[in-house]
């Protein structure tokens, strides 16, 4: 079946099977920053914005998003700023979890969350195995202007 989705502000027509998962469709259409990390919706590596809100693209059927908007890291201009701060902290390692984390964190900037405990709750679903989170939070606190 065909669906119409706006991806990173571009209107696109995609050919899908009714039971295709959004993550697979996005990768098939070249959005490789969205990745599969776990198959059970736990790791957050597949996070994209659906109508502006972070969702696990591995747990959504592509047909659901017909007529809706998807944003990946490529469609978020603020991503570069956060990426630079993460790089300067040395808070990046293998990079596999980074796009999903950045998408979710950029969304948090809109919410103007200032308390680190709240940030951690909202980011709990972005797992990382390389950095141990500590360096990421040094960078994220800078980016969000979190109160010390």
């Amino acid at each position: 079946m065909k669906i119409n989705v706006t991806i990173n502000n571009e209107k696109k027509e995609l050919e899908i099977a009714p039971d295709d998962i959004l993550l697979d469709v996005l990768r098939r259409y070249g959005y490789h920053s969205v990745r599969r990390g776990c198959d059970t919706g736990m790791c957050g590596i597949c996070t994209v914005l659906l109508d502006g809100k972070p969702v696990p693209s591995c747990s959504i059927f592509a047909a659901r998003v017909d007529g809706h908007e998807i944003t990946t890291i490529e469609g978020l201009p603020e991503a570069k700023e956060l990426a630079k701060i993460l790089a300067e902290e040395g808070a990046d390692q293998c990079g596999f979890c980074s796009p999903g984390l950045i998408v979710n964190t950029v969304y948090l900037k809109k919410l103007k969350i200032k308390k680190i405990e709240e940030v951690k709750i909202k980011l709990i679903g972005n797992l990382c195995r390389c950095t141990g989170y500590v360096g990421q939070h040094r960078a994220i606190e800078k980016f969000l202007g979190v109160e010390k």
């Binding site: 079946m1 009714p18 998962i21 919706g41 957050g44 696990p56 059927f61 047909a63 659901r64 797992l127």
Partner: protein
Amino acid sequence: MIKFKEYIKPKTIEDAYNLLTTKNAEIIGGGAFLRLSNRKIDVAIDLIDANLNFTKETNDSVEIGSMVVISEFEENPVLSKLYNGFLKNVSETVLSFQMRNIITVGGTLYPKYGFSDLITALLVLPTEVYLYKSGKFSVEDFLKIRLEHKDILEKIVIKKENLKTSFQYIRNSEYDFSILNVAVSKGNEVKIAVGGRPAVAQLAYKTMQFLHGKDLNEEIIKEAAKMVSEEIPFADDIKASKEYRKKVCEALVKRALLEVM
């Protein structure tokens, strides 16, 4: 992974119901868990366009459509303040923010998942569940009935009362299902619910009866907590043993009751 041949977004709950009962079909709620099953069906029904995404506040109640995602308990101005943020606090402990943006109220309640924290919390609030065909039920009745036919959860209605509330849980990692959870509310009566047993949440009727008409003090609370741990049935599962759940239940009920004392 679940497989199907058609994906349909009906515009009304009536259309959805017709599809559900005339075809080999299932309702896709958030899709989070149904996706993991190995079944083959013909039609996946997505209620996203069926006008079930509403939150209506009146003077004495709040109505929540079954397609409202549970992150709304954190972000929606009405829902996040309900019962002083009780449901917000509970919802924020559920899985991840991304998951809460797709898990729906209907998708949480209808399957009666044992691991659900929200069900435990709703059990101690004056909550009614509206099924499209079978009608209105209190949430505690809804959890007990076995439906003869498929149905669709349309909305829940939570009445506004003057209640003190508390929610306690135990997990190993914070990013996990609860090994056990406890919810308590106190108005004219005290309500105590225990979930993650691992089975779905239950009210502790005997203990609630025991507390009827009594004032809460530390001694009564201790006794009640012990009663709950003896009244509620527990079982082993991959996360914990029956014995552990029983012991921890007593501690959590005690803490919850102390909070609403």
